[in-house]
Amino acid sequence: MRRIISTLIVVALALVMTTPLMATAPQEEGEIVLNFPTFWVGQDSKAEPIADLVESFNAEHASEIRVVIEANPDTDGYRDKINTQMAAGQAPDIFVFAPDPTTFQYYDSDILMDFTEELQGSWRNDFVPGYIEESTKNGRTKSVPYEIGLTPIWYNSELFAQAGVDEFPATIEEFQDAADALKAAGIVPTSQMTGGSNAWTSMLWYSHIVGSLGGPDVWSKPLSDPLFVEAAEVLLRMYQDGNTTRDAVGGDAGVSGGHYMAGNTAMFINGPWYIGRIRGDAPETYAATRLAPAPQVGDYYGHQLGFMLSNLAAANTDDERKRDAVITFMQYMTDPDNVKLVSEAAGSLFAIKYELGADADPLQREFVRAASEATFVIGLFSSRYPVDVVAEFGQALAAMALGEATPAEFVEMLIEVNN
């Protein structure tokens, strides 16, 4: 045993001694190397098209600019890493910026590159109106809008037909009738979840309901507004009487999405990035999936949840050549033709104006239709509130679903963290 351990130690030491002390990539004379840490790697639907784009960019700018993708799997870990780097005052050359209240605080520092002037010119015309404004704080635009999300209700039209429901319910009363019909047919009405970092599926249901109660300006209202309790009551009903699966409490996105794909549940919420997954793993459910706005609970109907999902940002620099290289790359990434390539390959939507090709995915076209037919678009709960409040959402929801908290107490828990 001692000999084996000694041998292993010697081999390990030999290996590490032969590993380069510094791992910087070789660089040609005059070439600007930009490191691009991203979580669009591995099995992410955008991994391949983004890698292809970067490769084309590098070929186009050979010997001048080279972008090196740093693979950072695990989105939450990636955000921790980027936040740590920014807190240490050493932002990466280029990176994916989460446009939420927490990260927007870094706009106040000078570690992010400022694109305000460049975005005043013709480059601005490539973007869908509104997104640059949303990415601008105190008159400065320090991140470039890129991927956006739209999260309508997904429903399985085959399961609805089995239950004798011809149309997606337009009101909450019709929704309850449809849920009863589905249950009578042995089908669980909705996918829900309290787990994950933000209880994603249920947080989206809540945001839809809140939008119907409060309208386009709902997020300007304080959490103490009674509509948040009313929305919680509706959400609670979705957890009761068999309206969702038994593993929803504690379940994560894999659970809620898995039940929908498996045909166990009839309704689900997610964005266009999920198209590739459902098309590959559950072709029958994919073929039966239709999109709809959430049922009307309050005075408003027909709205959708739209939000900036990922912006692109860069480290501030005094080096003019490096700054030019970063802007050249940003403009390349947001070029409508390049965006179209990524969109069609990954099923994602973007804050840039582009036309889907004739052979684009039918469900992706449904998303574009849902966006164009929306009476108004609001953001998500998770985009409106800081990360600690969002984290509390799932905990509070689990407590409410388990009968340990009332809807009023659920909202109180959120308010407490928000204060």
Binding site: L13, T19, G42, Q43, E70, G77, D80, Q90, H259
Partner: protein, 284 residues
């Protein structure tokens, strides 16, 4: 009813035996069932996992293991994990055994205060040190190298390893060291010829903790490296977790592959680990 030696077992003996096996069976069940479930799940499709989580795979998906190896670059990450965990373990043990020797066997001013300062490091959450470690690693130009992880893991483990080694070395009788002094042993020889060899069980205990820490650590591996050449296994496992989709079954396959060395280490060294823990608990 006859016992092993041919003696008759009383009813209470038999009950005690049954009770013992029930308790052992209970712990065996709760220890092994999750591992067996993990192994079986690693051969399923994701949809199958959702629909029939406790059934046998309909078709055994070897592809999950192919994914585990190909997508995440597991072989290289495996090698890196072995290197990082082994070297950081050796470094930690070298440093902390010497430190523990001085604290456990010598007398000097502020001895207890200095020891307390080192041991207080156990109480600092490692996540609180992310920004300083990142800056320091960059300043030393070690970012994206195996050395960044080796030195960081060594530094993080100094307090706990010192604590374990100190507790262990204090239990060694002074007479042995005194006899060595009479035979002409120097200060260093007292450490290298007497105390260090006698601390073997403690070294294995502390070494196991340090090795497993390095093997399982994720957040610093992500923070301090960027290329596959300098990354470790835990990052490979996360390659199956993307923003909106987790390929659980391929991830399970990767996990099965990554826990094999941990199990092997424990199988080979479990007697010493248990002995070391018991020794520390009773005499430390």
């Amino acid at each position: 009813m006859n016992g092993i030696a041919g003696t008759r077992l009383t009813f209470s003996d038999a009950t005690a035996k049954v009770g013992k096996w029930l308790v052992l069976g209970f712990f065996f069940f709760f220890t092994f069932v999750p591992l067996i479930w993990l192994l079986l799940s690693s051969f399923k499709t994701n949809l199958e996992l959702q629909m029939r989580p406790f059934a046998l795979p309909a078709v055994w998906q070897i592809q999950n293991y192919v994914n585990a190896i190909q997508i995440s670059g597991l072989p290289r990450l495996f090698l890196n994990s072995v290197v990082v965990s082994s070297v950081s373990t050796v470094l930690t043990l070298v440093v902390t055994s010497m430190a523990a020797f001085v604290f456990a066997r010598e007398k000097f001013p502020l001895q207890q205060a200095l020891l307390n300062v080192i041991l207080a490091g156990v109480l600092v959450p490692i996540i609180a040190l992310m920004a300083p470690y990142f800056r320091l690693t960059n300043a030393l130009k070690l970012y994206d190298s195996l050395w960044a992880l080796i030195l960081t893991y060594t530094a993080i483990n100094l307090p706990i390893s010192t604590f374990l080694m100190h507790g262990f070395m204090k239990t060694i009788p002074k007479e042995l060291e005194e006899a060595a002094v009479i035979d002409g042993a120097s200060f260093f020889q007292r450490f290298s010829r007497v105390i260090f060899p006698l601390s073997r069980v403690g070294l294995v205990t502390a070494g196991t903790f340090v090795f497993l820490f390095g093997w399982n650590e994720f957040i610093y591996a992500l923070l301090l490296t960027s290329r596959i050449q300098s990354r470790t296994l835990q990052l490979g496992i996360r390659f199956f977790v993307s923003q909106f989709f987790t390929d659980y079954t391929s991830m399970f396959a990767a996990i099965v592959l990554t826990i094999i060395p941990s199990i092997a280490v424990y199988v080979f060294l479990h007697e010493k680990i248990i002995k070391g823990l018991a020794s520390g608990a009773l005499k430390g």
